[in-house]
Symmetry: C2
Subunit: 179 residues, 2 copies
């Protein structure tokens, strides 16, 4: 079993998949982690469209290739399209001062990283992709126009399971203490 920091170190953006399928149980396990993520007023403003159908996957992959670097998505067995609800249910006292969209994008970010950490625990590879023509993806998958597609998460088996060292800013650069 891996502790949390080992999971954090293992989770990485994988851009090379061997094409082998992931099971529905594995996909559900990842989504179940997202389901338990925290959200503003527990609004749970997320919706997931899981694409494993070969034809739809191929078309979705084409839409993901609008910038270089996403060509690998052709070979990904499961693509999870992560959608934000049009107007998440926040508490009335919060809605008095803030928009219903105040927290949703951050909430989806939390849910998505939980998907990738659970995938890492299951020995699956993942990659979070954020560049695509949103309207085209909505048309392809019949996603309501009021929703916002934030990212698409690739889930599959890596051709190479080597864990790369992480390139991150040092703690001193990102944190300040008022003691």
């Amino acid at each position: 079993m891996k502790d949390f920091m080992e999971l954090m170190a293992t989770r990485q953006s994988c851009r090379s998949y061997d094409g082998a399928p992931v099971t529905k149980e594995e996909i559900n396990a990842c989504l179940d982690a997202a389901r338990l993520a925290p959200s503003g007023c527990n609004s749970q403003p997320w919706n997931f469209v899981v694409v494993t159908n070969a034809e739809k996957r191929h078309k979705l992959s084409e839409l993901l290739q609008c910038v270089d670097g996403n060509k690998f998505s052709e070979n990904v067995p499961a693509l999870i399209v992560v959608c934000e609800e049009e107007c998440p249910r926040l508490m009335p006292a919060v809605l008095e001062k803030w928009s219903c969209k105040q927290f949703a994008q951050g909430d989806l970010g939390a849910a998505v990283v939980c998907i990738t950490l659970r995938a890492a625990e299951l020995g699956l590879a993942s990659c979070i992709m954020g560049t695509f023509d949103e309207d085209e993806v909505k048309r392809l998958l019949d996603i309501p126009s009021g929703q916002t597609i934030r990212v698409v998460v690739a889930l599959g088996h890596p051709t190479d399971g080597t864990v790369r060292p992480k390139k991150r800013k040092p703690l001193e650069e990102i944190a300040r203490f008022v003691e």
Copy 2:
């Protein structure tokens, strides 16, 4: 050691703290998890201001009490103010079509949930608070005006460590399969 789903189940919004301090090592361990979170183009658009100073904590807690439910923050030993950089560094090909702010809010959501999961692993309680007068918090802590404060994370020891069952939408309600 807890597996990932146990951590997810243990992490919960704690609104009652015994006031006992958390160590700098514990705080750094939580921030180190955030540091390893994924972000758009690895931009790492986060900044953390950790407030443990009693006077500043008291003033920050007052600013968090703009809606009911945050009164507990008076008794929290460490408050982590989570700030988003003004314009995160994305790749030029991404910036051609999207704003520099495209992914940052989701990235911060990912970093924040990692803080709370690492805290749960360490036996600490946490709560993510999103309602406050942002300008007042910036003035109190000398946070640059171009940054956006997304949330404040409480970190401390719970008066009651009981894990509550989670109230969440069932998987069928949040996920759809295109198979």
